[in-house]
Subunit: 254 residues, 2 copies
């Protein structure tokens, strides 16, 4: 089982869009996938057509109420893809988690006790570097960082890299990271300029696949369906399928 956290403190860089799109593409490629919604906004849950206020259990039940993780798993409308829904209650974690002993390992321990049979676990994180994101990174093999080629998003990488170093030395020595360029507009001078800078600064730390702006990705959450179902022939569907192949190759090489 390979676990990926989608995190960037910067808001609106396509963390959720990438989690749901990649999840669906991995499922289409025959992998068994569990999507985990750790954001109080519960956008990953919505993107899969599930109304967060109508579910019984969520990630908040696991983080705050010690529910065994298996009991929160729901099937989704996508075959090979299951979901642990999000809930606005998760925002309470920032206040209540840190007072617990070994709170950083809560999610990792919950996965280990559940002895799950998935090929991939994908966790969508909130736009913050708090105790929930810490839990996700401690439990992950890979931190996938959706990044817009814009100033604030690139500046956010500094703090995130400090976090990765700290987490590797204190909790999870095997954590690796990869940047993914999202919302990319090849006609935009700033996007071209900053993406070249990123590639030269991070070398192979930046994934080959680039996700360009595609308005079909704005439509798919309205339909509550991942892009490969809402617009299977779109450029975005093709780019996320390419990303799935790149991730599968990365994992099989590791």
């Amino acid at each position: 089982m390979y676990t990926i956290a989608f995190s960037n403190e910067k808001g609106g860089v396509a963390k959720t869009t990438t989690t749901v799109s990649l999840g669906a593409c991995l499922a289409e490629a025959g992998r068994k996938v569990l999507a985990v919604d750790l954001d109080p906004q519960a956008n990953l849950t919505l993107a899969l057509g599930v109304e967060p206020t109508r579910v019984v259990h969520s990630t908040a039940s696991i983080l705050l109420h010690d529910l065994p993780l298996r009991q929160a798993i729901l099937p989704s409308s996508v075959s090979n893809l299951d979901l642990i829904p999000g809930s606005s209650e998760t925002s309470q974690s920032e206040r209540y988690l840190p007072v617990r002993e070994r709170y950083e390992y809560l999610l990792r321990d919950a996965f280990q006790q559940a002895a799950l049979q998935y090929d991939f676990v994908l966790m969508d994180c909130p736009p913050a570097l708090g105790s929930v994101t810490l839990n996700a990174l401690v439990a992950s093999n890979l931190l996938l960082i959706p990044t817009q080629a814009e100033f604030f998003s690139i500046y956010a990488l500094k703090n995130l890299m400090n976090w990765v170093r700290r987490i590797r030395s204190e909790y999870n020595p095997h954590l690796t990271y990869r940047l993914l360029l999202t919302l990319f507009d090849r006609r935009n001078r700033i996007h071209r300029l900053l993406s070249e800078q990123l590639r030269s600064n991070f070398n192979n730390g930046v994934l080959e696949t680039v996700i360009e702006v595609d308005t079909k990705l704005r439509e798919s959450p309205i339909a509550g369906a991942p892009i490969i179902f809402h617009a299977p022939k779109s450029r975005a569907a093709a780019q996320y399928r390419a990303l799935a192949q790149e991730i599968i190759a990365y994992v099989e090489k590791a």
Copy 2:
């Protein structure tokens, strides 16, 4: 003194861009403005050309270390516009603020004790509905909600409206709100469709001024200068100037 909080749990909807742009336009119109950076990302501080790691005091000093608010105020490169810088330490507030007695009034009390002489105080909030945002809304006259005409951003309004109702009944009965359409692309069908829905749902709760997509706004944080200095003749500069006039008229009518 009129206080405005810029908040939306949804990330990347131009909260920071609106705070710095509107602040500069109000200052240009002769108003004395204080910009307050409540986001651990400290993007408002960066947008004004100040490096957050080099300042002595920040909003974290006020929220976590009881520094009198006046001592954290810095002049900015814009005349009539001062700044209280942000700091990554603010993220500790979610853990440490709620244990204090009357923590919700901390910022409001700090403003009252400082007896400031500004016409406007503008507060940029993090993409979260936690104790820092709660403090800002309790201290505000107006909640300005930058909103993208996209599904997740509009869904986020539900939770925010619940918060506004709760804050009005428990802490700040005079709190009002206004939505501002940002990052708007008039050629995009989804944007046109969802913005019409917003206007019919919220009536005059949506400001007349609409801020359209303008790549000059991506460039200005790189220059560390507000849009009216970086690109004074741009469409974005004109639209934020129009917003400043609309806000001045709203305040003078109130």
